[in-house]
């Protein structure tokens, strides 16, 4: 990790939503972010996969961490578990991407470990299985597998901070956006940073997080963006209406 880069922006589940991504990147730039990590699912659901990949590829060229998510993998080979509407979007995405774009997605790693950080899309315990971290037990498995102080992931679209309590038990904390939370190196922490392009907690604002490596503080963020325009593009592209509706309502 570059010593001068004190604040890392953690962005996940962009889902081809260029409006949301641009708003978060602008927000991060203004907050003095020096480094970027994209935690997977650049595409899927949204109407701008190529624009998102082009943007993220620029950041990757400048040293950003970029992780592969299950939707990114699905562009290579549609998996069986995806339902019809998601499958339709994946097929559309594949058709609308350039070869370079597809190669970029295919080249992404499932997990990156750097010093005391682990970046992964779903869970550090068997990343390729795309298990959801939806309980303290699942968080514990991820933390144990990561073997580092800080694990950052996405996949689950709601922001959550898992930590070890005084007695060693793993517990969940629902963060308050905008409040810096001290997360010291004497404990292990797992942050689920939320979804940039498709938040699902009845709040359409884009979600991401900033980690201040020097002061050991994480700040979860919500950024208002033109989600109505993003939803309209999904409709105009002929993608399933239910997906446009979800982006519009944040559900």
């Amino acid at each position: 990790m570059d010593g001068s880069a004190l604040i890392i922006a953690l962005l996940s589940d962009v889902h081809a939503n260029i409006e949301a991504l641009s708003a978060c990147l602008k927000h991060a730039r203004e907050a003095g972010v020096g480094r970027y990590a994209f935690l997977g699912d650049l595409v899927g659901y949204g109407a701008d996969p190529q624009a998102v990949i082009d943007t993220v590829a620029c950041y990757a060229a400048k040293g950003a961490v970029v992780i592969k998510g299950n939707h990114d993998e699905a562009v290579e080979k549609t998996p069986r578990y995806m339902n019809d509407s998601v499958r339709a979007v994946i097929n559309w995405t594949r058709d609308s991407l350039s070869d370079e774009g597809k190669d970029f997605l295919a080249s992404l790693p499932l997990c990156v470990r750097e010093q005391d950080f682990c970046f992964v899309h779903a869970s550090a315990a068997a990343p390729e299985r795309w298990d959801y971290i939806d309980s303290a037990a699942a968080a514990r498995r991820c933390i144990d597998a990561a073997q580092v102080t800080y694990t950052f992931c996405g996949h689950v679209h709601d922001q959550e901070l898992y930590f070890q309590g005084a007695g060693g038990k793993t517990m969940a904390f629902r963060p308050v956006p905008g409040t810096p939370v001290p997360i010291g190196r004497h404990r292990r922490w797992l942050a689920i940073v939320g979804s940039v392009g498709q938040p699902r907690d009845n709040n359409p604002a884009a979600a991401y997080a900033q980690f201040d490596t020097d002061r050991e503080r994480i700040t979860f963020r919500r950024v208002a963006y033109d989600h109505v325009a993003a939803a309209r593009k999904i409709r105009d592209a002929g993608l399933p209406l239910s997906i446009a509706y979800r982006v519009e309502k944040g559900i």
């Binding site: 309590g165 005084a166 007695g167 517990m171 904390f173 308050v176 409040t179 939370v181 001290p182 010291g184």
Partner: protein, 469 residues
């Protein structure tokens, strides 16, 4: 991890702080006086006990306080100055609060009801200020209450505190989170750590101790002993000391209700009752002269077995669900068209909350040259306005315990309203705009605009639509 031994701190220097004498050495850690960094106020440094042979309890308490204290502000908490990195040199530097602890006050013996009320109200103000910041102290006891020379209270030691904006390191940890046995609330015994009403229970235990010199539940040393308070009610204060007035017993026992729903729902309401004994809604609690009988205790014991921890509700939303609303009524002009408009607005505001306290205030001008308040005509005027105030609020049909009426006499109505609102932790002031016909009367105009400009809280100015004038 290189942690200097405790003795190596004294007389040394750390991050620009000159470490002076050690003033406390306890199970959790050490406290030193410190100087330096051009501080405008005296400071202390807290250093946790860590290392081989230590329980880790001191470190958890330190870590919790280091997380919560920097997020708190206002006159009722010590000012945070600096902290060291927990993994390298853990320390916490805060303001040294000059004053007497409530423990020292209580040691001198039981207090007179008036003193219990004034000190108790100051403590309640401090607790309320904490709750408004989304934090719960959870370890309120006389040792942690510092009374300053001006009577204001500062709460110290946030090693067991809960703050809704931060991960709760002590959640599910009964081993560490026990609190202080004489003051801990029943729901804390069961493991709930996010309910501000737990602090109201501890407040009740302190009021009880200040009043009677005794602890309401003794000093239990076992879990079974701690659980007793889930169903056992304390000996009524008036039994221990017949001089205790009914209103004070009412307040104390209401704070000590085993079920948090039966207590005061905010510390502001405790402060209000302590400052206005005449307005306390007296119930059977005030007259209680015995503890509950065996049958009642058995019933409560049975109920407590089934009681689940309180649902999660953020401290601030708990407190803001119980607003103190103050309405200023111009009783000098009872037939004014603004009166029904003020009533309508007040009813609308109150309908948004099932838990509230409405304070109706009228300010009668006391001219500098008029006769003193003790004279016949002055008290007659006072009563007259009180009756008009009661008449004004009657249509709202509020239960007495939600209501209080006050006629203030002042040459400066604006200041009287502002001061009364601030002192009683009012959340919202409702008052009328100047009547068009009164626009020439500058004093009323200045009351509405002056109150709006200078209030510590929100102000709702009611105006009769122009078409009706």
């Amino acid at each position: 991890m290189s942690v200097p031994g405790s003795d190596r701190y004294a007389g040394g220097e750390l991050d620009g702080f000159l470490i002076g004498e050690r003033i406390h050495s306890g199970a959790m850690g050490y406290i030193y006086r410190v100087d330096g960094r051009d501080s405008a106020f005296p400071m202390i440094m807290k250093v946790p006990r860590i290392g081989p042979g230590e329980s880790g309890e001191g470190l958890i308490g330190y870590e919790t306080e280091a997380m919560v204290l920097p997020a708190l502000s206002g006159p009722h908490v010590p000012r945070f100055v600096a902290m060291g990195n927990l993994a390298k040199t853990p320390y916490l530097v805060t303001e040294w609060v000059d004053g007497e602890s409530l423990e020292q006050v209580i040691k001198r013996g039981p207090l007179a009801p008036d003193d219990v009320a004034s000190i108790g109200a100051a403590i309640s103000d401090a607790v309320h200020s904490l709750h408004l910041q989304d934090a719960v102290h959870l370890d309120l006891k006389p040792d942690n209450v510092i009374i300053k020379a001006d009577g204001d209270v500062v709460l110290i030691d946030f090693g067991l505190a809960y703050h809704a904006h931060f991960p709760d390191l002590l959640a599910e940890e009964h081993r560490f989170a026990a609190g202080s046995a004489p003051y801990i609330s029943p729901e804390q015994v069961l493991g709930t750590r996010s309910d501000p009403r737990s602090d109201i229970f501890a407040l009740g235990a302190m009021l009880y101790e200040m009043t009677t010199g005794e602890l309401p539940f003794g000093v239990p040393s076992t879990m079974a002993g701690l659980r007793d308070r889930l169903w056992l009610d304390p000996v009524p204060p008036r039994v221990r000391s017949p001089a205790v007035p009914p209103w004070l017993q009412e307040i104390i026992l209401r704070c000590l209700e085993p079920d948090a729903d039966d207590r005061y729902q905010s510390a502001a309401l405790v402060a209000f009752d302590l400052r206005n004994p005449g307005q306390v809604a007296i119930t059977a609690r005030a007259a209680k002269s015995t503890q509950a009988g065996v049958v009642e205790q058995t019933r409560r014991w049975w109920r407590s077995r089934a009681r689940h921890p309180a649902p999660r509700r953020l401290p601030k939303s708990q407190v803001s669900a119980t607003p103190v609303v103050m309405v200023a009524v111009d009783t000098a002009n009872p037939d004014d068209q603004r009166q029904p408009a003020l009533q309508r607005t007040t009813a609308q505001v109150l309908s948004l909350s099932s838990e509230f306290r409405l304070i109706c205030v009228s300010v009668i001008r006391r001219s500098v040259v008029a006769e003193g308040p003790g004279s016949e005509s002055a008290s007659g005027a006072y009563l007259d306005h009180l009756v008009r105030l009661r008449h004004w609020v009657e249509p709202l049909q509020l239960p007495l315990r939600r209501l209080s009426l006050h006629v203030l006499e002042s040459a400066n109505p604006e200041n009287a309203l502002l001061e009364f609102a601030r002192r009683n932790n009012v959340d919202l002031i409702i008052l009328g705009a100047p009547h068009p016909a009164q626009r020439g009367l500058a004093w009323w105009r200045s009351v509405a605009s002056g109150v709006t400009a200078n209030a510590h809280c929100s102000v709702h100015v009611v105006r009769v639509p122009a078409s009706l004038n």
